[in-house]
Symmetry: C3
Subunit: 132 residues, 3 copies
């Protein structure tokens, strides 16, 4: 069983998807195992970061844009190479451990969908694997 979710994103914005991932793990019926959250887009990604002060995620997006500017010399015709690069740096997936029918997260951790290019309708998948 695979769970698919959709969301509407904003440019250089992180959307919390923690509740949906928790819900998928619960619905899977898996008590102990692992969980993969996967983004099928090449200008977006999945990360885990602090869930209390929303300025953490906006600062991360700000810092990523500063460290990975739109370099002169990029050749891709769509002009969004910086977004593709960020997708590779942050990564297309997050892998979590499942215990007690829940993904294990630190007390300050949340799971986030990262949009690096425009405002779009996006999707992601959640797969849960039992350990036996």
């Amino acid at each position: 069983m695979i769970f698919e979710y959709t969301l509407k994103t904003d440019h250089m914005y992180m959307t919390s998807i923690t509740d949906c991932v928790r819900s998928a793990v619960k619905k899977s019926g898996v008590k102990s195992g692992i969980c993969v959250v996967y983004c099928p887009h090449t200008t977006a990604g999945i990360t885990i970061t602090e869930n209390t002060d929303s300025e953490v995620s906006s600062d991360i997006m700000y810092g990523l844009a500063k460290s990975f500017p739109n370099w002169i010399g990029y050749k891709h015709y769509e002009g969004n190479s910086a977004a593709h690069l960020l997708s590779s740096v942050i990564g297309a997936s997050a892998v979590l451990i499942v215990e007690g029918c829940q993904p294990i997260l630190g007390p300050l951790q949340g799971i986030y969908f990262c949009e690096f290019y425009g405002n779009q309708r996006r999707k992601y998948f959640v797969k849960v694997i039992a350990d036996k």
Copy 2:
């Protein structure tokens, strides 16, 4: 069962390994589960990015070299610390969801072996886990 593949790489070049990963998943006989692609080298990595315009992958390598230059102050005697850093930033593995005997990929996604240091003979592993 674990699948091992070898390839000859070029410096700061991404080689598509999508077909080999698809083939490994098919050979594994797993219909539904997850797939891990793993790079056992410390100056290379695995990423997922756009598979249509090859200038995307060359732009990503160009941007990575710009954002992570060979900083004055590196001490490692081999002089390839920038390559080791890129290996950690991009990561040694990619994790995919398997459904219908295939890795789930977005329509524009391919799986790539990233070479950050020289032209070499490299290898990578593919492991597939069923969900039951």
Copy 3:
């Protein structure tokens, strides 16, 4: 079964956790499968890099600090946004393939806990999944 380990960290320092991960895999009794190493903190992460010359890991930390400085413009009240960003760039987990009761590692690879913020007591989890 999930394995939990604690460690005392130093600021911008990588601690090898390879032996603990090997030990967890052995204790799990899993011969063939995968292994997830997970960091539940938002200013730390897990990576895989060279295990022979310790200047590789110190160079990586040096290079990360150079490429991701404490940008003017960060708003998070704790002032540690650069550490949160590094946690997302390096990632909260490493995924390894298990074969012959051991995690597969290249001859030069080790598994490292990366501390991006202060000297702290930290923990991480190891979960092993069999392939059948």
